[in-house]
């Protein structure tokens, strides 16, 4: 479409203003995280006189950043890998070898997408107590496996549908067992969709608050979200500690987002088209 330069310029300026408004909250947070507390409260919109990292050192100690990052990384990685392994196996089998059971099971998985987490969270704590997994990392990971199964299954099954069956048949004739076909042929061929799911679920688990809140009530096992929540509970209005802690907690996510931008947006679009 041809557009005249004036209307183009106006659009550009309007969008630019929008971008600035959208990014402003983050910018205000980062800027203030470098200032002493009295300056934050008196002049929240002003640049710091000097950029000091004192607040960061305090927050690093107070929140124990290395520990919460480690916990969150362990939980997210094991949760997402487990979800993907379970969902790929289920999706592959349900698509290639449909039986009465696999049909019932896959529709049950899809129906579970309609159950809000709040509906099952209360008894879930009891189930975890019964399994002796309450307040342990494996307990939280197990919960993510169950909750994350639906979305991953849904995405990966549509990936399996596009795979040519001939390849698997050829491998079978060459003497591969079912497991070998799955591990050596199907899984590698699914890697694009698996990667998409991996990235999206990683963001979900990393940012999730409610599962750690009810299943990881041990301060040593705090994830990023839990630690930030506890910090705000303890020091209301200690913005000189809270703002650097918030900034640090977001940093990994923002870096990954910038690196994987196309992948993430592509995944969202794929999800929308299939929905």
């Amino acid at each position: 479409m041809k557009k005249n330069p004036v209307s183009m310029l106006i659009t550009f300026m309007v969008v630019l203003a929008g971008v600035l408004i959208f990014v402003a909250p983050l910018w205000i947070m980062v800027m203030n995280s470098f200032k002493p507390l009295n300056e934050i409260i008196a002049f929240p919109l002003r640049f710091p006189d000097e950029w000091s990292f004192d607040n960061y050192a305090k927050a690093w100690e107070e929140v124990n950043i290395p520990n919460i990052m480690k916990n969150t990384a362990i939980v997210s990685f094991s949760a997402v890998c487990g979800v993907i392994i379970l969902a790929t196996m289920t999706a592959y089998w349900a698509e290639r070898y449909p039986t009465v059971y696999s049909r019932i099971f896959s529709s049950a998985i899809l129906l579970s997408m309609l159950i809000p987490f709040a509906t099952i969270m209360i008894p879930l704590v009891q189930v975890m107590k019964f399994l002796h997994l309450n307040n342990t990392i494996p307990g939280a990971v197990l919960a993510y496996w169950g909750i994350g199964l639906a979305f991953a299954f849904f995405m990966i099954r549509s990936g399996v549908k596009t795979l040519p069956y001939e390849l698997e048949e050829a491998a079978r004739i060459d003497g591969c067992g079912v497991i070998q076909v799955f591990v050596r042929i199907v899984f590698p061929l699914l890697s694009p969709v698996v990667f998409s799911v991996f990235v999206m679920d990683m963001f979900w688990v990393w940012n999730d608050f409610i599962i750690p809140l009810i299943l990881l009530n041990n301060q040593k096992l705090s994830t990023v979200q839990l630690a930030i929540n506890r910090l705000f509970g303890m020091y209301n209005s200690r913005w000189d500690i809270a703002l650097p802690a918030l900034t640090m907690s977001m940093l990994p996510i923002i870096v990954i987002f910038i690196l994987l931008q196309k992948k993430i947006v592509g995944g969202v679009m794929a999800g929308a088209v299939k929905g």
């Binding site: 909250p25 159950i115 709040a118 929308a272 088209v273």
Partner: protein, 295 residues
């Protein structure tokens, strides 16, 4: 041969479906079933004694004795307002950012950025903006409107939550709508132009109707995520002032884990489930009809 195949199927089912079945039972099916049982009891979550009280919990919910109805109306209001604004802004952004603007891709990324962060953290960032940032802007520009106590009154706390919801989710709708708009064949638009259709007319009469399936997806997603609001609620307003901004999910959480009313909370959770189920199925049904009318 036939026998061998059957044998294989059994092991295959066990191996490929067994683990997910166990996980699914433990995390979704059994808790859901227990939820139904608890909802007829007055269990407090601690004692070993469970007394069954019939429909008492549901009675309390629907008679307004429990706070759940208030939470329901609040959630409904905030969902209506936010979903409308999120989708309008998202569509506008998508239209602006499918034009050939310089810096188009970084701009898209900037609008999508809040979507990648957790609701809890976004709420805390905005807590700072509402407590310190907005009043400072008000002082600077001499706008009394900005200097009020945003999180202190019912109306402004509601507005604050709407602002955060829109900020967080407009980028999602934008991405979906960009996909929709760029999927429209340029020949169609060209021919409309040749026939003398003005840009606004082309947008309203051709582009927008073609986007309906995508708009459905984004409505579906924005409505169901607004109904489930929890994290931003916890971090921004804590349900206050005076419980006026307590969402359904936060209300259930409070009743279960802060007030130790497991029985009542599971009953509320079931009502919550039915509400979401009803709204999403109505939506799915209507969207199916709309789509078949257009396609």
């Amino acid at each position: 041969m036939k026998k061998k195949k059957k044998y294989n199927m059994l092991w295959g089912n066990l191996l490929f479906l067994g683990p997910s079945t166990l996980v699914f039972l433990a995390v979704v099916v059994i808790p859901f079933a227990i939820s139904i049982i608890y909802s007829f009891s007055n269990w407090n979550g601690i004692s070993n004694e469970i007394k069954f009280v019939g429909l008492n919990n549901f009675n309390n919910i629907f008679s307004g004795k429990a706070k759940f109805l208030d939470a329901f109306w609040f959630t409904l209001r905030i969902t209506a307002v936010s979903v409308l604004l999120i989708n309008l802004l998202g569509i506008l952004l998508a239209v602006a950012l499918t034009a050939r603007l310089p810096l188009r891709n970084p701009f898209r990324a900037a609008f999508y950025l809040p979507q990648t962060m957790g609701g809890l953290i976004l709420g805390f960032i905005w807590q700072f903006i509402f407590i310190a940032g907005f009043p400072a802007i008000g002082d600077k520009l001499n706008l009394g409107f900005f200097t009020q106590q945003w999180l202190g009154t019912e109306k402004t706390a509601f507005a604050a939550l709407v602002i955060v919801n829109v900020w967080q989710n407009a980028g999602y709708v934008m991405v979906i709508m960009i996909a929709a708009l760029s999927g429209i064949s340029s020949e169609l638009i060209e021919s409309a132009k040749v026939d003398g259709s003005r840009p606004l007319n082309t947008f309203l009469r051709i582009k927008l109707p073609l986007c309906v399936p995508y708009i459905t997806v984004s409505l579906f997603w924005t409505i169901s995520s607004a109904l489930k609001m929890f994290e931003t609620n916890v971090s921004l307003t804590k349900g206050g002032p005076y419980g006026s901004t307590t969402s359904m999910a936060l209300n259930i959480y409070n009743d279960a884990f802060a007030n130790n009313k497991y029985g009542l909370a599971t009953a509320e959770a079931l009502v919550f489930f039915v509400i979401i189920l009803a709204i999403t199925s109505v939506q799915l049904y209507m969207s199916k009809r709309k789509e078949s009318q257009i396609l």
